[in-house]
Symmetry: C2
Subunit: 337 residues, 2 copies
DNA sequence: AATTGGCACTCGGGTTAAACGAGTGCCAGG
DNA sequence: CCTGGCACTCGTTTAACCCGAGTGCCAATT
């Protein structure tokens, strides 16, 4: 059904369409790629490809353009991830070189990815689950209010205000702080729940409600909420890449944290490059867009996701190459610091 | 030269143009607003207004549209800030109610402003200059690396990695930490420089290079860099408000931190509502846009700026009302926490 | 069975021409 | 100073038209 030449034709159609944005006809195909057959033959092949749903024509008397299914086949079987050029690799290094803080790393990664691919970049903050506790600090703000500061072994700091049910005095704070640090120091945050389960027993009964409030904030807010932090950049690139329709929709989707979560979550927990094409994206209003995503982290742990979003008509090999390279490099940086 | 009726005509033209997006002619003017004169009279007035540069016609045989100068006059003399409706005020409260952390406050403010005005919102993080030090924490990360954590009396936490010139042991860290806290606790950050000037003298000579590194980071990075943090949102609104040209340009400008700084910086240190119309904006590629900005902060201190950006053809009274109201409300929240 | 050249057909895009109409400027009269 | 009248301008819309890229099909060839 699909012999080699037909596949070659599909590949050629996609390459041409991606670079010209215009439907591609049988004649220009044989010219630009040296297929040693006549346009008529290509037409027959194209008819078959259309029959099978890999390409379609916008209207009669126009050339063919790839369908989502066509891109899917292309990505799965007809292309390979394109390694970056030396210049691009150097760009990555210089771009990310001066980033010490996590905020900095994430921000720069977004800009870098957007610039490299000329599309929209989406980056999720690394999860805290695999980090360990280095220090817990409690700072009184007001009679019924504490500030909880968590410092991890990866040098990250998270803070959060805590509303206390009762008033609390300096001594109790100090005691609670000491207890917390004894219990949790060096422990992975993923185990935090079990670490502190018997903590209230070691405190004065009167302090227990307050301690409970602190713990619940620590467990729920700090660790979980953090993963919801996702930033994007390169929206300006949307304006040029004449998104057939619904630039509006795309921008709205990007500004919804929940949508971004869903977008990155879809690809599961894998660290592998994942490509979602057009309607494969569950998110309404993001059909017409493709998302290339991957996990990243220090070593082989997947701490978060990053992705590039663009029109279905995108340079998949190049984009995949950029995403993979950036993910790896960011992984190194996280591992070092 | 400019009698009352001519001013009324200008106001009417602006109101109509803002709501319809279309050049407005003499006839529809007398209909929609009950000016008790004939279209011909209005035409004469319009001729004068055009002569003076307040309005212009896109082409012969079309109605008039306001010029930047026309909007300027409108804002300065023909309109007043429109107070928010009850529903809008309630929206502000519910929207900002659950925000405890600063991050949260800023993020929500951006979304709120964008939604309220249906335009792009820009919010700068509050300056740390007026805050006081509550606690300084030093955490060893690696032999030559420290994490510096600063906690302010307003419950804000800033962290930053510090590269040390020499190795440092636990005791020296503890000593340095103690010294820092003694010197700085309760002191306003604005005075931080003078507070620590004699600190190195109280340390072992061997520790002085390390201490200097820590101090420079504390002074330069934490306090100053923080003010550069500016976020924006509501880009989706740009898509609808058919920015005559250069949506591309606007998006690019918004993604440049430097540009945003300049945008907010222009209006000086005032807490007052400031309106920059079209070409009044120094930023290239943001002609065609207007910016309504104001300072905000706890009490009467101006800690940062926030702004709304939209096409010159915007609802100035409404936008100004929203900006002022939100700024005030955010101020209250900052003052409480 | 696959390939090829030939040929009629389709249809979107671009061009030209004409009719339309909103809006203007000007003027003469109230 | 205001008003009604009127000629004029010019962008927009509509219609008719042609052009050409591209297709599908078929019969002939390999």
């Amino acid at each position: 059904m699909l012999d080699d030449r037909k596949l070659a034709v599909l590949r050629a159609i996609i390459e041409d369409y991606v670079s010209t944005t215009e439907p591609v006809g049988s004649k220009s195909l044989v010219e630009r790629h040296n297929l040693d057959v006549s346009p008529a033959t290509i037409r027959n092949d194209m008819a078959v490809l259309e029959e099978l749903g890999y390409i379609t024509q916008p209207h009669t008397s126009a050339g063919r353009i790839p369908t989502d299914k066509g891109y899917r086949l292309f990505v799965d079987r007809l292309s390979s991830v394109k390694p970056l050029s030396g210049a691009e690799r150097r760009a990555i290094e210089t771009f990310l070189a001066g980033a010490y803080e996590l905020d900095d790393v994430v921000t720069r990664t977004v800009r870098l990815l957007a610039q490299l691919t000329r599309q929209v970049a989406v980056v999720q903050y690394p999860s805290l689950r695999r980090s360990s506790v280095r220090h817990v600090e409690l700072v009184p703000l007001a009679p019924g209010r504490l500030l909880l500061v968590l410092i991890t072994d990866t040098g990250r700091v998270e803070q959060r205000g805590v509303e206390l049910p009762d008033k609390i005095d300096e001594d109790s704070i100090a005691h609670l702080r000491a207890m917390l640090n004894v219990c949790m120091d060096g422990q992975p945050l993923a185990d935090a729940a079990s670490m502190v389960v018997d903590l209230p027993g070691q405190l004065e009964p009167g302090d227990r409600p307050n301690a409970a409030a602190v713990l619940s904030v620590l467990l729920e807010s700090l660790v979980e909420r953090h993963e919801e932090k996702i930033v994007f950049g390169g929206a300006a690139n949307l304006a040029t890449s004449d998104f057939s329709k619904g630039l509006q929709d795309v921008l709205e989707a990007l500004e919804e944290q929940v949508v971004l979560m869903r977008l990155l979550g879809e690809s599961g927990d894998t660290a592998l490059l994942t490509v979602k094409i057009g309607a494969e994206n569950a998110v309404e209003g993001l059909h017409g867009a493709s998302v290339v995503s991957t996990g990243y982290g220090a070593g082989d742990q997947v701490l978060a996701k990053l992705a590039v979003l663009g029109p279905t008509r995108m340079d998949y090999p190049g984009t995949m190459g950029a995403v993979r390279a950036v993910a790896r490099y960011v992984g190194h940086i996280l591992a070092e610091s």
